[in-house]
Each structure stands twice: as C-alpha cells, then as structure tokens.
Symmetry: C4
Subunit: 237 residues, 4 copies
C-alpha cells in the first residue's frame, strides 16, 4: 500500500474503531525518503474525506507541497515536531477518544496495571505538563509537540517502547513504525483507558504491576526475543 | 433545504445520534421572516413521525397556524421564550440524553475541563436554578424558558458562545444559528458530559482549563479569526 | 393482537430492547375473562422461542392448562401473586437488566431524581426487603410475589402509579395495564437506572425532586387531566 | 460437532460475544480419549483464523502433534495444567474481557452479590495471588496454571461449581464440561463483572447474598434436583 492509501485508511480506521467522529482527530504518515508528511485536511468530516484531499507538507518547514490544495490539520506542527525528534517513527495519530481523553482531562498518567497494558506499552503512559500562557499564545501546536518530546526525554522513555502520550487537558497522541501501528496503539490505548477507569470504580488506589511482570509480557510480545505469534519462519498465511 | 425538511431531519437526527428515543425530546426551527416556529408534535414517537406532522405555531403568542392539526410539543412555550429573547438563534433542541441529564439531576454545571469542550463552548455550560412551587404550578414550560434566559443574563453569557443549558432536574436544551447547529451542539454536549463523567470516576476534583487555553481553542475554531477548517475561499468540496 | 401474539412479542421485545439475553427474564399476560396466564417456558433461550411454546396456567392455582406442554417459567408463582393481588394489571415483565439489577444488588430504592422518572413513575421505585431463610427454603417464588405486594401495601403505593419494583439481590419486575406497557416500563426503568447511576458517579448525595415537580410531570403525562400527547379526539394517525 | 469445529466455533464466539478482539484470548478443547488438546494458534487475529489453523498438542507434555504447523497460543501451558488437574473439564477459555479484567487489575474476588451470579457460580469467583519473581521468570504460563489450581485447592472449591478464575493483574480464565460451556461462563462472568462494577458505583460496600439464597438459586438451575428448564423428559425441541 502506498503512503496516500495507508494514510487514508488510517484516518478512516479511526472512525471504524470508534476513536473519532465529526472532524476530531487526524492521522499522518511520513515519507522519510522524500521528507514529506501526508495528513488529514483541517475541519473535513471523516465521512466526506477522500483520499486525494490528504495534504502533503514538507517535513523541514511545514510548507505546503501543493499551494492550491486544502489546508492541513491545525495539529500539523505537533506531528512535524514528533517526526523530526524521533526518526524511528513512521506514523502518528491524534484523537479525542473518550476514555483516554478523560485521563488527559484529570492530568493523570495511565498507570500500567495489567498484562494487557504490558503487552503493548513498557510502562506508564505519561501525561504532559500544562503548557504555559506564552506557549499557548505563541506557536501553540508546535509547542505541544515540544512538550511531548520534553516529557519523554525527561523520563528517559524510548518512544517505540511507549508509543503514546496523553496531552494535558487535550487528548492522546500515539505513533508507531507505521501509521497502521499508530492506529493500533491508539485503539489499544483507548481500551486500556477504559479498563483502568473501570478499575478506579472498584478501587481508588492504583495497582501498578511489578517490573518483572511488565517486562515478561512486553518482551514476550515485542523485540528480538519475542516468543508470541508465529515469527517470520513459521508464518503460514 | 426548507424549514420543514430541516426541522424533520433535526428530529430524526436526535434518534440517529443516540440522543432521543420513544417520544422524548424535540427539535424546532424558527422562520424569522414569517414569525413562525415549526416543532415536533407532542407524544408522537420518532419512528412514526412524518414531515407533515410538524406543528407550526406563531412566535408571538404560540397560537396554532393550523387549528385542526396535531398539538405541538408540551415544551413549545420554552422554545418560544428562547426564540423571543435571543434573535440570533435559529433552531433549538431539547433531549433527555443520558449523560447530560445526569448532570441536570445532580444540579451541576458542566465545567470546561478540556479542549474538546473549548472547541465548541466558551466556558462552563450552566445548570439552571430550581424552579419555585409557583413557577411549576403556573406556566411551567414558559417559566422554564425564562429561567434559562435569567441564568444566561445573570452570568452575562452570550448564548451563541455557550449554545446549551442544563435544566435542573430535567435535561439539556441546546441551540444554534441553525437547527442543524442545535443538533450538533446537543450531540457534542452529550459527548462532553460522558467524558467529564469519566473524569469524575478518576478524580472527584474538577480540573477547569485556564482561560488562555479555553480561548485559544474556542477562537481557533469560531469567530472571524478562526484558523481551523478550510474557510470559504479555500473550500474545495 | 391476541394474548398469545402479544405475550410472544413482549418476550421478544425484551431482547430487542437490550433487557434480556440467554434464558434470563420472562414476560406474561393475563386473560381476566378466562382466568388464564400465558408465560414464557422455563429455560428456553429467547432466540429459539416460538409463539406456540408459551405456557398457559390457571390464575387460581397455577395448574397447567395443557399437561403435556412445556414447563412454565420458574418465576410463574411470583407473576400469579401479583395478578391475584392487583386486578388492575394485565401484563408483567421480569428481567435481570444490567443497571436496574445493580440497584437490586445494593438494596437501594431508585430515587426519583428527575423529570424523566416523574413522567412514568410517581415516586421512588421501591426495593424489597430481604427474604428470610424460611421464605427462601419454602415457596420461594411465591414468597417473592408476596414480598413485592407487602412492600407496596406498607408504603401505600398504587401499583399503576409506580409500575415496577426492585427485588432485593435479584432484579426488577415491572407491570402495566397491558404487557406492552409492562415492557415499556421495564425499558424506561433500565434507562432511569442508568441515568441515576451516572448521577451517583457525579455526586454520592441523592437529589430527589420536590413533590410539586414530580406531580406536575406525572400528571401532565398520565391520568384524566393529561395534556401531553394528542388525546383521542386530536389523534390523526 | 467434532472437536475441531467446536473449538473453532468457541474461538469465534469470543468475538461475537464481545469478549475478545485483535489476537487477545483463546479457547481450547480436550479430547480425553486421545489425550490431545486443540487450541488457538499464537498471535493470529480472530477475523483471519481458519478452522484448520487450530493447533493440536499432547496433553501429557505439550508437544506438537504436527511439527510443521503453527505455534500454539503462548497460554497453552496454563490450559494443560488445568486439564491435567481437573479431569472433569472439557474446555477452557481465556480472555481479556473488559470488566472481568478490571477486577483482575485491582486484585479483587468477584463477590456473589445477586441471584444472576448464583444461577451460575456457587460462590465468589476467586482472584489468584500475585506470582513471584521466580514464577514469572521461570515457566511463567505453566506457573499461572498451578496458581489457579492452588487457589481452588486452598479454598476447597469444586471447579465445576465455580467454573472461572480471575488471574491477578492479567484477566479471566473460565471452563466447563464442554468448550461451549466455557464460552458461556466467560460471557456470564463478564456480565456479572459489569453488574458488580455498577453496584460499586452505587455503594463501595459489598453486599454478598446469604448462603441460603445462593444455594437456592444455584441448585434450582444446576445439579440432579434442578427444577429450572425443561429437563430431558419434557423437552419438546
């Protein structure tokens, strides 16, 4: 699948997976060879979106490749900062998915409380700090990107090991090696947020799993020594 | 789309969007040139409603335009008060949508806790005061309208900047320049109420966003300086 | 629609309305002229139920009209007690619907906290007392019926004004003049239970509406002076 | 239905019943005559799973019957321990179903709070103890099985009377005489977990039902003296 088809499918999958409605959220893909980012146009409802309406911008300066096309998503500067900071990622998704956003709104990390979490995220999913007045009144969307990177740097997190972040008072961003992974991580994140919220209804105390269980599950499913799944040699279909 | 078609579509969209069932709720539209309001008939189930059954009443005194038609919604006097008080609105929606109604029942404003809220509502969505014995036993539905207007006046709120209200112990009303906007605001309100309720399950403390973030998002998407969306010049489809 | 068709439709509507699954719950209808009650057979899954499988029992002693047919629902004795005690009711529904059952499980009345409740139920929906060891080990299902009637008598409730009850640690029963009404009341009850539970997530304090508002809504929609709906004279379709 | 068809249907029913998505969870069946266990392959998404991809392993040592087929589920050693320890069971299901997993995450038994629970499970559904560092770093999946059996032995529970267990910080396992029963128990467990969680939103105090009511319901529906359902003699279809 080429970049345009993959990016279009990712945007549509946000709706199919119940993560987006109306014009909320966006998915983007980066072409590292061409230094081009493809992203959803701003304010276009998903059900009307067509593949050719995706907007191409230059990774370096965010300028439009085609100056008489649609405007890119207003969140484009956030995507660009992440692509520039983390060369290992290939796709980014932003949503206002219901449960993950609830965490953003109360400014809480999503604590790793079970093996479902550990199968995908090697630790708590961080919530960013509050942006300052100057950051909001200035290059707001770009500063959101810097704030995410700052959080990951400060906590020394590998963004491929914890491929999502909760933006304080806003909502989640997720990413991956591919945009398909980014969508999957957004979907799993929402599910984890639901389960953790249910856990809170049962007990206000957090129950973080021990590191040895976190790593056992994460490494069983991810990385070179993964035993989960069929591996390349054994795969039959 | 003419008034009748728009009003019929709005009533049906309440069901499609999961905001209404049975005979609960109603949508209306005002024709400012003719001083006529079209509204759902009383007690008719949505699935049986036909476009010609919508009831026309005079904006001035609420009298029936067609005296041998159906009765208008029992909430008609509330709609009329809002249309008379706020000439800038063109459509109104009332529902008993599940989450917004929960706020009405516990007599709480819906606090602006995130940017999803700020994208549509420039501040907290107010819950009205309790109606008095005399107001309930008198012209109850009309008094409900006065109570909404009183709340907006007292708090000095522009009804187009916060196009919804929670009626204490009852449920939400929303409105907009068009009835289509009114339905959209009712839908977003329900979604916001869900997310805020989830936030409450995580933390009983409210997390109101700072005004500078509220305004940044509200003004990015609304008003003359909005940068969100395609604008009229750039719109391609 | 005859009794059999109405009773079959009621049982199927429990599934359609999301109130029942598997073999849980049952709907019955009484033929007052013949002193016969028709009820769902025991342990038959809804999706396999056929109209002719409904079981007829005598109102007086619960004996089978057709001795080589299926066994009636194990809850039949509860239905019979209610039909005998309350001649004004014509249909009964029992479910384990998710939210109403949660109230039964924590032994709480469903407090009238809003006008949605008041439109259908003229006051709190009672939860019964705990059955004793002897009542459970004896004629358990019949004693459940007596316990419901005892609760309504003790609180001096007209069963047509509050047409539902929460059985402690079990689930809801509802009823009405017709079995169609009984299903509608079961559906509204579940919706009210959802909204009240959401209200509890926002505030642990109950917010019972004042009697004047309760009566205003109840009497607007029910009884001889009802102004809601089209009335018989005005009804066009 | 043969073993392969039954096991395939069970795996698909997990998705149909809303208990599984992506590659999460698995169902297995044991052939006691042949000492063979059939189980879902590891990491294969349900929507792509075909009947012939199910993996056969030997009950005794877990070795592959067909060495050039797919790898079995990574949870296979857990299934094998349960089959070996409890000869009376014929099928096992593991899921990360949303509400039951929330209980696992906060390390709580699922208390029997109502008759819906008592109709299927003769007492609280236990949550296992935390696995130790050595157990996790060693034969983790096999140790999970031992931990379940240890819990049932310690509490002196008959696994057919309480056919499910919550694995601490992980999720539920359920089982039954047949794999069809195991799926049904997983489905009912999830429903019970939802209702119990709703009960917690209403009251943080548990409301365990008395033993005489628990047994009345359990024995009405299960065991030789069951009066619920049609029995073999009376069954018409």
């Amino acid at each position: 699948m080429n970049c345009q088809a993959a990016c279009f499918k990712a945007n549509r999958d946000l709706v199919t997976n119940g993560l987006a409605q109306f014009t909320w959220g966006n998915a983007s893909i980066v072409d590292r060879a061409e230094n081009i980012v493809l992203i959803k146009p701003s304010g276009v409802a998903y059900e009307r979106l067509t593949e050719t309406e995706l907007v191409a911008v230059r990774l370096g300066d965010g300028s439009l490749v085609n100056t008489d096309g649609l405007r890119p998503s207003s969140d484009t500067p956030t995507h660009l900062v992440l692509y520039r900071s983390w060369p290992q990622i290939g796709g980014i998704v932003h949503t206002h998915s219901e449960y993950a956003t609830a965490y953003s709104q109360v400014e809480m990390d999503l604590i790793a409380e079970g093996t479902t979490h550990a199968d995908y995220f090697r630790g708590d999913i961080p919530c960013t700090r509050q942006l300052t007045l100057d950051e909001v009144n200035g290059a707001y969307e770009e500063n959101t990107g810097h704030c995410i990177v700052e959080e990951f740097t400060r906590r020394d997190i590998n963004p491929l090991e914890i491929p999502a972040c909760l933006i304080r008072q806003h909502g989640p961003f997720s990413w991956g090696k591919t945009v398909e992974d980014a969508v999957h991580h957004a979907t799993v994140l929402e599910r984890l947020a639901r389960m953790a919220l249910h856990s809170r209804c049962l007990s206000q105390q957090f129950h973080r799993i021990p590191n040895f269980l976190l790593d056992r599950h994460y490494l069983r499913k991810n990385g070179p020594a993964a035993s989960y799944g069929q591996g390349s040699a054994l795969k039959k279909n």
